[in-house]
Symmetry: C2
Subunit: 235 residues, 2 copies
DNA sequence: GCAAAAGTGTTAATTATACACCCATGT
DNA sequence: ACATGGGTGTATAATTAACACTTTTGC
């Protein structure tokens, strides 16, 4: 026995929702699709799963192809499978979302072949297939997960300031936090190590840099932050 | 253009992790696999995705095939894709987990063809392929999700008592809760409607039945319960 | 010297935890 | 009358939320 015979096989692709943070807004990296159908239209970066690779491998390959980056935080989002989602031929897509330091990407970025651009979540162009739905779901999951796990650090450079971190959280949750409560909450996690130097671009006084304590970060990855806004419908 | 040509297609299956609660332990429904390879070994219920159905459709079909039940709570768990996970031929599997009232199943259960049996999570037999991993992940996700969303009601009959509900939560989290705090927390959600009749099997005094307030349940599905045990590693 | 952002402390409100007794009923 | 499980209240601790002033420094 070397196959399951008459069962129908199908194409499987991966698509990557690549998040970055520019200091102000949460952004997603999109490309201009390079082949038919929908050639030239905005799309997530994706690719077909190859015979020897897992979906995770495929997603990492696709991410590297676009950004040149490896060892990026990535997580499976959802398997999209509406039979008609691709008009040419049935293709399922396993969506992954990735969080990266947008500056890393800038440094790497020499590949114009994909015509990639960062878009704010509030200014998304029309996208092919079900990619808009994918991004909506990714954003939800990011919020959900970041409320409980300290993953947003993946969007910042190695050294960052508390005000930068707060702007990031505020961007992700589209809300404002009280800076006293915010820094107390963040620092109470004991995940951050204060540096001696300051970031002096965005203020005269300057803000101290912090770095992640990698040991504690890995150990405490399951810590809870609880940034989830409480629902007000529990009357 | 009617196909993507040279790209390799692959088999895609779905597997269902079907949870039930017998009043004491959280259980999973397993079958004896009916075809090669691994014929006769314990396995999750699964099936190949057909050309005209989404993964969700396939999972519902498979669930109905085994249990006869429809409109069951089901959620995509994860896409498993290790190229060699099935020794015969590459087959990816999209795992879904389902929560059902075990009594519904008993009532329905006339199909012996699958040799299905309920197993406690602590007494799982050896399973084919990566099915053990799937169940482990499903259990984690169930805990994770149930800490935040009131989904465990899906495992109980329409009418249930607070002590039954507490046993369920205790089973899922493998811990004990204080019954005063438990009932206060649950009732504070205002999702339950007290009935006039009592369940008299498990005690002389009898315990009042409750029903879900479906309206509030649907509206407040995103409420937070926070049964997650706090980690003690945040010193 | 003043504008702009960084940094820090206290109080009140809410929520979570710990804990013990009375109640109803079948035997 | 007693054993069994059901049901409830209160006091304390922990956490979260609200809020305002001082510091630094480049201009």
């Amino acid at each position: 026995m070397t196959s399951y015979g008459k069962q129908k096989r199908l194409l499987v692709a991966v698509d990557c929702i690549i998040f970055g943070f520019d200091g102000q807004d949460l952004k997603v990296l999109l490309i201009k699709r390079g082949f038919e159908p929908e050639k030239g239209n905005w799309s997530l970066m994706g690719g077909f799963v190859q015979p020897e690779e897992s979906f995770e491998d495929a997603a990492s390959r696709v991410l590297k192809q676009l950004t040149g980056l490896e060892d990026i935080y990535m997580e499976q989002l959802y398997a999209f499978s509406r039979p008609t989602r691709d008009p040419i031929e049935r293709t399922a897509s396993i969506a992954y979302f990735a969080l990266l330091d947008i500056n890393q990407y800038h440094r790497q970025q020499l590949r114009h072949e994909f015509h990639a651009e960062w878009f704010s979540l509030s200014q998304m162009p029309e996208l092919i297939f079900d990619h808009t739905e994918m991004i909506t779901m990714a954003k939800e999951k990011l919020r959900y997960k970041a409320a409980i796990h300290p993953i947003l650090f993946e969007l910042l450079p190695q050294k960052f300031t508390i005000p930068q971190l707060q702007l990031l959280y505020e961007g992700v949750y589209e809300t404002d936090f009280d800076k006293r409560n915010f820094s107390r909450k963040i620092l109470s996690l004991k995940l951050l190590v204060k540096q001696k130097d300051k970031e002096k671009e965005s203020s005269k006084r300057g803000a101290f840099y912090y770095k992640l304590d990698k040991r504690r970060y890995n150990a405490n990855f399951h810590s809870f932050l609880n940034f989830i806004a409480k629902p007000h419908n529990l009357k």
